[in-house]
Amino acid sequence: MTITTETPQESFRLSMLFNDTRYRALTFQAIALLVLIAAVAFLFSNLMANLEKAGLNISFEFLGAPSGYDINQTLIDYNSQSSNLRAAWVGIINTLLVAFLACITATFFGVTAGVLRLSNNWLVSKLMSFYVEIFRNIPVLIWLIIIYTVITGVLPGARAYLGETPDKELLFGLFAFTNRGVYAPAPIWGDGSGIVVATFIASIIGVFLYRRYATKLLYDTGKLLPTGWPSLAILIVPSILMFYVMGQPIGLDSPDPLANRFNLKGGIQIGAPLLALWFALSIYTGAFIAENVRAGIQAVSKGQTEAAAALGLRPRRVMNLVVLPQALRVIIPPLISQYLNITKNSSLAIAVGYADITATLGGITLNQTGRAIECVILLMLFYLVISLSISSIMNVYNNAMKLKER
């Protein structure tokens, strides 16, 4: 500090901006920034001026106008008189639904395949590497179309289930598998069903508490409590008891083969497009996740496994208690990008007629209103927000999992 004040300050000359290495880097960065700003400003003003000249302006008023088209899977109230904004919301919810489902199943496929690929069983490990290589190296769009074609080609038509004497009976009188989708019974919530649901939620909390207690007991005293069947019992028994105590308030609305001459009516319908998209995204991304998991496991030094085995832990416990927790630190960061990929790849939905945000806002609405710039801006905004949200949530999880350095 004292030294710098004592040194006589050389007066600043303009030429120093280029000749003096202390300033040169800054000078060039400032110039580059100015050029960039000027270029963007020029492009933007050009866009605006020409749009104006053509009588077009950026306007989001079309979002309030009636959309005029119908959508096959709507989780919120929607009809052709609803606004374009409503249609976009339907699409957003459909995108989030398929992305959420696919993230869960892809993780399941990926972890299973990744662990089994390292199995000592030759057949199992070869089968898993076959799965990984086949699914990873063929584009997801191709898989999507193959799976959808198989569903529509192999499963029977909806009409096979219809009428007084159908060609096919409902499975258990409850389920139907057709090339238009899977039909399942829907619950009917009667009086007192709230109490049954509350009991079930309490049971879930109970299971959680029991497992925490078991872990604590294990660490404190070394006593190992069984967790499998007690958890199941805590989860199911109170709810079933309450169900009968309250006089069976929850009924089932199973698909009705007689209500309509074209389709099964009633119950829940999971459309073939959703099934195809869900399965294709899961199985495709699962192959990538399997590789991440394998890399994560192999990153844990062999000494850990051997030490755990030396302590007398069985292979499953070695995997669950020693290897996987350490492997997670390597697995999670690439896993985040796989989840982002699932969300972004779900925009292929239109290939099988699934009404996601790209199909509604970026497809039909864009086509019918001609508001391309506005629709694309909104689409970009949506995917950006969703991707950043997933990323930040997963980063929280990553921070919780990473090595605690003190």
Binding site: L51, G68, D70, N72, T152, G157, A158, N367, Q368, G370
Partner: protein, 372 residues
């Protein structure tokens, strides 16, 4: 067909705001860019269109000695290549007639297959001189996309096709049915309106292309397939057992199909318009491919036939064409009625009745302004 009704609006508007800066660049360079991305492609459209509009398509076609005519990628009866690669069909006949009228040779045509998405860009960019691709004449295409529809050669409407075994006889019985539609088309909106007006429900299955929709329909993934009635008939004709499927009687929209050219080139537009009118008038006046040689040999008793065939007056000269332009156009594949019967009429597998497309004298809508 009413495919991608508005999809070009944004292309067109995109070209408007950025076209200005691109216009000055060399055309060849623009063509290369065009292939790279849709966006850049859209930019070049404006540049090319501006150049073409000034030149005069009629002179271009004469200089080139060949007509570039945009048609479908293949819809049997309307435009499809046969085993030898020879194009034939209802729309193809219009192209050939124009080529004969302008160049004197009905085979001097280069057929350019276009899809629902590419057709307007192809025309706007000057890649084709005219588009004869069962395209619906709508306000926005005429006014906003800057095209000129020269007339209507087929009055169509959106219909429904269903398997016979369903036992459906009217579209109003389709409550609860699953319907295959081509997405991004006006059919989607017509469908929603029809079911809403009749207070019945349906489940849409949006599908990207006609062939995919056909596949889904045959697999039973949907009960009903909807598109323009003529398209349904043509699609059904390609089925293994066309008799197993019926077209329902309801027509739920107006789809006037006709050839179109670029806006602002009126000489060329007139040539195409009056060639189409010549085919229609020929049927009305009884001029056929069989008797045209006799009729055009010398002036007869009917002055309008004389004017049409160039044995009297100078209509051809007014159009900038030869005196026997209409005779050449009609001689290629006959008059409007003959073309209809040969390609899509009741004697063909497509089996369309004349219906609205009968001459006005027979109670139809086909009507040509007088040759006078």
């Amino acid at each position: 067909m009413s495919l991608e009704g508005q999809s070009l609006r944004q292309f067109d508007s995109a070209s408007k705001w950025s076209g200005k800066t691109v216009c000055s660049k060399a055309d060849i360079q623009e063509e290369v860019i065009m292939k790279k991305t849709v966006f850049l492609g859209a930019l070049t459209v404006a540049g090319l269109a501006a150049g073409v509009a000034a030149a005069g398509t009629l002179d271009d076609v004469k200089a080139r000695g060949k007509l570039n005519c945009g048609v479908t990628t293949g819809l049997v009866g309307f435009a499809a290549p046969d085993a030898n690669g020879e194009w034939s069909g209802f729309d193809v006949a219009v192209c050939r007639a124009v080529a004969a009228a302008v160049l004197g040779d009905g085979n001097a045509v280069e057929f350019v297959p276009t899809t629902g998405k590419t057709r307007f860009t192809a025309l706007a960019s000057g890649e084709i001189d005219m588009l004869a691709r069962n395209t619906t004449w709508t306000f926005s295409r005429d006014v906003d996309l800057k095209f000129t529809f020269v007339g209507v050669n087929y009055y169509d409407g959106q219909g429904f096709m269903a398997p016979k075994e369903l036992g459906v006889s009217s579209a109003k019985e389709l409550d609860g049915a699953t319907v295959c539609i081509q997405t991004g088309t006006t059919t989607e909106l017509n469908l929603a309106d029809f079911f809403r007006a009749n207070n019945i429900s349906y489940e849409p299955v949006p599908i990207e292309t006609n062939s995919e929709a056909q596949q889904q329909y045959l697999a039973g993934a949907c009960d009903v397939f909807t598109t323009d009635a003529s398209g349904l008939a043509a699609t059904r004709a390609t089925f293994e057992n066309p008799g197993d499927h019926i077209l329902l009687p309801e027509i739920v929209s107006k789809e006037p199909l006709g050839p179109l050219v670029r806006h602002g080139d009126n000489e060329w537009g007139d040539a195409v318009r009056w060639t189409l009118n010549a085919l229609i008038t020929a049927e009305e006046l009884g001029v056929t491919s069989a008797n045209i040689a006799d009729m055009s040999a010398s002036a007869g008793n009917n002055p309008e036939i004389n004017r049409l065939l160039g044995t009297e007056g100078n209509l051809g000269e007014m159009l900038g064409l030869s005196a026997d332009w209409a005779k050449n156009a009609i001689a290629v594949s006959g008059n409007y009625g003959e073309i209809f019967e040969k390609n899509i009429g009741e004697s063909t597998p497509i089996g369309l009745a004349r219906g609205l497309n009968a001459q006005w004298t027979d109670g139809g809508l086909i009507y040509s302004p007088p040759f006078r």
